[in-house]
Structures are given as C-alpha cells and as structure tokens.
C-alpha cells in the first residue's frame, strides 16, 4: 500500500484556470462582477424573505382561525399536518426557484463577460 504524504492545503487550494482572472482586470469587467453579486444577493434576500413570510403566516393562520387547528385530515390534526409536513414543500419550491434564477443570473454574466473579452 502506498503512503501519501498529506501537506496542508492551507491557502486557497488551486488557482483559477478559467476566465475569472482576465474578466476582473478591466474596469468594465468589475462592473459586471459587481452587478452579478448584487443581483445574486437581491435574489437570495427575496427568496429568504418570501420563505420567512410564508412560514410566519402559518402560525398566524392557525391563531386567526381556531377551528382550523382542531379539524382533522385522515385522523391527523390539521395544525400538525400544516407545521409537520406543509412547510417542507415550501422549502423545496423556494430552493428550486432560487437555483433556477441564480443559474440564469450567472448565464447572463457569462454572456456579458464573453462579449467583453470578444471585443478586446
């Protein structure tokens, strides 16, 4: 069995081998990068905010309609169903929507960066 000596990968592991080094050099490139970061942050905040609002609405809903919590579906109390199972689909859908939009933001950035380096 071969022994391999592990040396500490202490600093950032490997240098970027793609265009991420060149696009950032120019002032225009930085404008694109900043705009990408801003739109990704905005997207993340919107999704997080929406999620928190929906989840926060669940207990308010139960408090507003006391009869709702006492009704049962297939022998399971409704409030248990809502909090114990109903929140997971919301989580999944939020995550899926975010992933799609984040990928779209990146595709847009990639197009811009390609145009930029094509122009040079």
């Amino acid at each position: 069995m071969t022994r391999v000596r592990v040396t500490a990968p202490r600093s950032v592991a490997r240098p970027a081998v793609d265009f991420r080094g060149t696009a950032e050099e120019s002032a225009v490139g930085q404008v694109f990068v900043r705009s990408l970061i801003r739109s990704q942050l905005r997207l993340a905040l919107v999704v997080a905010g929406g999620f928190v609002l929906i989840v926060g609405a669940f207990p308010l809903l139960l408090a507003a309609f006391p009869g709702l919590a006492e009704s049962t579906v297939a022998g399971i109390p409704f409030d248990w169903l809502l909090l114990g199972a109903g929140i997971y689909p919301v989580t999944g859908i939020s995550a899926w929507l975010y992933m799609r939009s984040a990928a779209r933001n990146e595709a847009r950035y990639r197009d811009l960066a390609r145009d930029l380096s094509g122009d040079r």
Partner: protein, 497 residues
C-alpha cells in the same frame, strides 16, 4: 448479565447489542471498500471533489441527521407538542439558507475548511486562528450530545452502563477516521442516511398497521399534554428559528462537504437534493412524536421522552416482530451517532492538524484522537439534557460566531479581520455565557437566557459591521480578486456553452 441499575431495559438486550454490532460491521466494510480508493493526497481531506451529487447529498444528509434528529425531535414533540415541530422545520430550512447565501460562493472560494476561507478572504492569520478556535468549540459542543444519545440508547436497550455507549461510538469513529480519511467517510455517510431513513420508516409502517387493526386513533389525543409544560411563547420559537436557520450554515462538518462538489452550480444542486432528503426524513420523527403522544404519553412522565423512538416499536407491536423493529431503530440510532460524530471528528481533525500539528497524516490521526477524546470526557462529566434542546444551543453558538463571518465575508466587501475577530468574540462570549448561565440556573433559567440566539446573533453582526467600519484601512487589497472568485461561475469562457 450486569444491569446498571438505571432502570429496567425495555428491549431485549441481545437486540440492542446485535443492532450495534451490525451497524459497526457495515460501517467498517464500507469504510474499507472506500479505503482502497483513498490513495491520493486530496482524498484524505475532501474526497477529491469527485463525488457525484446524489452520493454527496446522501452523505450530507447522513452526516447532518444526528442524535438530535433521530431521537431528540420525536422526544421533544412528545414533551411539548406542536411547538417542537419548529425543530425539524428549522433543521431543514437551515439548508435553504445555506443554499441561498453560502453554497456556491463557498465552493468557489476553493478553500478546504472554514478557517481556510477566513484566511483567504481576510488575508489574516489571526482571523484564521480565531475561526479555528470557534470551529473546534462548535465541533466539541456538537459531539457531546451525540455521545449522550449513544449512552441513552445503550442504557435503554441493553441495560449496560451509559459509558459503554459513548465509548463504543468514539472508538469506532476514531478507528474509521484514522484508517480512511474522508473518502471512505463519504460512502459510509451516504449509506447511513438511507439506513436511518429505513430504520424509522419500516417500523412506523408496522406501528400504523397495528394501530389500524386496533381501531382508529383518537385524534383528540394529540392535544394531550403529558408533562403539563406551558406552551412556548413567540420569543422562544423565533429565537429557536434564528438559531437553526443561521446555525446550519456555520456547521463545520456540513461545510466541508461542499468542497466535494466539482463546481458552484453542482454545490447548489447537491443542496437542493439534501433539502429533499431532509424533508422526507423529518416526516418520520414527527410521526413518532405524534404517535407517542397519542399512545404512550407515559414515556414523557417517566423522563424517557428521548427514547420514544427506541421504545415505541416494542411497546406497540410486541412479540418477535416488535423485537425485530426495535433492532431496526436501534441500528438507525447508532448510524446517527456514528455518522455525525465521524463527520465532526474529520473536520475538527482537519482544522487542528493544519493549525497545530503541521498537516501531516500522522498529525491528522493524532488530531482525530484528540477531537474525539475531549468531548468523550465532557460527556462523562455532564448530564444529558433533552437532546434536541442541547443541539439547539450549539446551533445558537454557531449562528453567533461562524455564521456572521461567512455571510459578511461572502457578501460584504467592507469586512475586515479586526471586525471578524471582534464579532466572533462578542457572539461567542455572549452565547457561551448564556449557555453557562443556563446550565448553572437549571430549570429556573429565564427564556432569554435559555434561547439566546435572538439577541446574540444580531449583536455579533452589529459588532462585526461596526468594527469593520472603524477599521476600513484594513480591508485587504486582494478584495476585488477574492469577491470575483467567490461569485463568478467557473466554466471556461473559451469552450462556450
């Protein structure tokens, strides 16, 4: 057979021991299988970043679903009803936050550990060391409840003394980690997710069948309050959610998994799969809690709430089928202790060996031993609180220390090393202080101390931002390069799409 005198054992002792032995053997076999392909340098730390998303997601799920999830959630639901449902919701939603704010940029940072990230982002050795300290504290705090869970399981199912359970887990984990590094861990963890899921699902199906034959459950029984505890107020629930939402994205053993994705986009995809896996999993502890509340509320009065998952199959099914199902859940429980503990030990050993021992394989192994031995000692001298509750406090600590550094480091150019250190120190001291005070005060702890995240997390963020503002000149000159690297997609321009 020597009984420990800690109450009668409700399950046939042979069942518990067999289940533990089977899980250990399976872990060892898969660990060995992984060991044979664990050959290159990178394997030892992060499995070479070549693990496919499904494996990786299962492994993340396997590592994340700890004693608190497997036993604690059902126990807490048995004790406090719908209020406890916020625990599984928070554990899952924490991954949503991780996806939104951390997954892709952290993967793109190219760093291996959280301290690596801090050093690269802030260009500062001292910030790195403070982060390492926070990571080690978080890891140790998180291992302790796993060992309490193991002690509880061994005590309840075999009647052996508590220390046997925690020691057995530590021994198995240290042996696996020392032998295989991260590559074999990935396979083991992925296997353990599916084991944990099956171990809860199959007995539950049997329980429900038995219950159906015995007549429809009385739904009103869910409103039974077996302990007479007052329901939690909005502050408690909100503070808990803050801890769980923000705590997840700072957990060291979770973060290290993201480096095993080939790029930022696949890091996101993996996280999405993890969210699905967790959502499915948490339906089961919730169901156990509800069934326990309806049909075995006596467990809560007897102070055995955390063991509800272990005891329900035996109580409700009975006979040989009941014993078989008990063996299943015991196996699942040990999978939970083993996987979370080994994940934590690997990431702690990585940090300790790099910062203290020079990063050799020998150093890694020594560090693994230390990482597991310290919490074992702590577990011996401390008492088990409610499992889900004590893990909730660890999340609060993480949310007050590591989370602000990650979030501000990834999204705000203005963060400086001085700000990061001041913020982590503030959050750590406030939250740590609240934990110590809470332990000292016991049952009389005021709510704001028992559930501190709602004020310690904003405090840590505020100190971090204000100190960074005051030390603007310390923003590293590499900031433009680093931010570009964190946020831009990896695909090479030349190849197009």
């Amino acid at each position: 057979m020597i009984l420990a005198g800690t109450g009668d054992c409700a399950v046939n002792p042979a069942v518990g021991i067999t289940a533990f032995a089977a899980v250990t053997a399976a872990t060892a076999v898969i660990g060995f299988y992984g060991l044979r392909i664990s050959r290159t340098t990178g394997d030892f730390y992060v499995a070479s970043r070549t693990v496919p998303p499904w494996w990786n997601a299962s492994a993340i799920g396997g590592e994340y679903l700890s004693a608190a999830s497997f036993l604690g959630v059902a126990g807490l639901i048995l004790l406090s009803g719908t209020d406890a449902l916020w625990f599984p919701v928070g554990y899952t939603a924490g991954y949503l936050m991780l996806l939104l704010f951390v997954a892709a940029p952290l993967r793109r940072s190219g760093a291996y550990t959280i301290p690596d990230f801090t050093e690269a982002r802030l260009d500062s050795r001292s910030a790195r060391l403070v982060t390492s300290l926070a990571v080690v504290i978080v890891g140790w705090l998180y291992i302790v409840p796993q060992l309490h869970g193991a002690a509880l399981t061994i005590r309840t199912t075999t009647g052996l003394p508590s220390w046997v359970g925690s020691t057995a887990v530590v021994v198995v984990v240290v042996l696996t980690v020392v032998a295989g590094g991260m590559r074999s861990i990935t396979f083991v963890q992925a296997f353990q997710y599916w084991l944990k899921l099956t171990a809860l699902a199959v007995p539950l199906v049997f329980i429900l069948l038995v219950l159906r034959d015995n007549g429809a459950p009385a739904a009103a029984a869910a409103d039974v309050n077996p302990t007479g505890l007052a329901p939690a107020g909005p502050y408690q629930n909100i503070s808990l959610l803050v801890a769980l939402l923000f705590g997840t994205l700072g957990l060291p053993h979770v973060l290290v998994r993201f480096y095993t994705n080939p790029d930022g986009h696949s890091a996101r995809r993996t996280t999405l799969i993890v969210l699905g896996l967790l959502s499915v999993f948490y339906l089961f502890p919730t169901a156990y809690g509800l069934v326990g509340r309806m049909f075995a509320p006596g467990l809560a009065q007897a102070g055995q709430a955390d063991a509800v998952v272990l005891l329900l199959p035996g109580r409700l099914i009975g006979g040989p089928a009941g014993e078989l199902m008990s063996a299943f859940v015991v196996a699942g429980a040990f999978a939970a202790f083993l996987s979370t503990t080994s994940g934590l030990v690997v990431s702690l050993a990585g940090v300790i060996s790099q910062d203290v021992l020079g990063g050799s394989v020998r150093g890694f192994r020594l560090a693994a031993l230390v990482s597991a031995a310290v919490p074992l000692a702590v577990a011996f001298i401390t008492d088990s609180l409610a499992l889900a509750g004590s893990v909730g406090l660890v999340f609060a600590f993480t949310a007050s220390t590591i989370c602000p550094v990650l979030l501000l480091g990834i999204w705000w150019r203005g963060l400086t090393d001085a700000g990061a250190i001041a913020g982590m120190a503030t959050g750590g001291l406030l939250c740590g202080g609240a934990m110590v005070a809470g332990a000292a005060l016991g049952a009389g702890t005021p709510v704001w101390l028992a559930q501190p995240a709602a004020w310690t997390v904003p405090a840590a963020f505020a100190v971090m931002v204000l100190t960074s503002r005051a030390t603007k000149s310390r923003v590293p000159h590499t900031i433009t390069k680093v931010m570009t690297r964190l946020h831009t997609p990896e695909r090479p321009l030349a190849t197009g799409r």
